[in-house]
Amino acid sequence: MATPVVKSRPKNLNLLTIRLPLSGIVSIFHRISGALLFLLGIPLLLAMLQGSLANAESFSHWGALLTTPLVKLVLFALLWSFLHHFCAGIRFLLLDIHVGVKIEAARKSSLWVMVVSLFLTLVAGVMLW
């Protein structure tokens, strides 16, 4: 019978000393943005859909609400969450079909995810502000 191999390799799980590679940052942001979209995004989306479709009064009420700075900040956070989740998700789908799996391409695509999602958030932000 084979004897079990005892693993005693060093572990470092200290979050303050771990330096995540960019693709790791994209990955954890994918999770954080997903959680944000679930907690805040879905209920807010449905509330806005209902408010904007119910009647003309609630339509203008919600329109006015969306011009307050605090609500705008929340919307930007959600907009970034959506765009990051979208771009990172497309990258993951491509990785699934073996596009860009090599380390150089994977690094480059994770940089693209960060740049494109921030850029689109900025563009949408300027348009909506």
Partner: protein, 132 residues
């Protein structure tokens, strides 16, 4: 994705590998993995299509905004998006729970809460879309 069932070597009397399955774990198959990707593609197609339809015609008044969701096919497309969103959210949130919430009771309670919330969201979406 999530934790696989860990085989316990030589656990059975005949030395069969017994898989230690957890009731609040994943369903140990390709299904969830695939559903997560299919729902992602459905949402991506709807989002891009919606943005292409809506953004060039900004800004909207109440009547033009309502007209956008008036046709039956538009309601069905929106509901399809929301259904994909709810399924996608369930798998994603469940994966987060499986990674960070270890005690079975707490995890199960949270999972039930999330399922109920998502069901309510789905029913709410139907009433919003078909109320006019």
């Amino acid at each position: 994705m999530g934790h696989g069932g860990k085989p316990i070597p030589n656990a059975g009397s005949g030395g069969d590998a017994v898989v230690n399955r957890i009731a609040v774990g994943a369903h140990y198959g390709l299904k969830d993995w695939l559903v997560q990707r299919v729902s992602a593609v459905v949402m991506a197609v709807y989002s891009v299509g919606f943005a292409l339809c809506v953004l060039p015609r900004m800004p909207y008044g109440f009547d033009s905004w309502r007209a956008l969701f008036a046709p039956a096919w538009s309601k069905i497309a929106a509901l399809l998006f929301i259904a994909a969103l709810l399924v996608h959210a369930w798998i994603g949130v469940r994966d987060i729970f499986m990674d960070y919430i270890k005690p079975m009771g707490i995890r199960l309670t949270l999972q039930i809460g999330v399922i109920l919330a998502l069901l309510v969201y789905g029913l709410w979406a139907i009433t919003i879309l078909w109320s006019f």
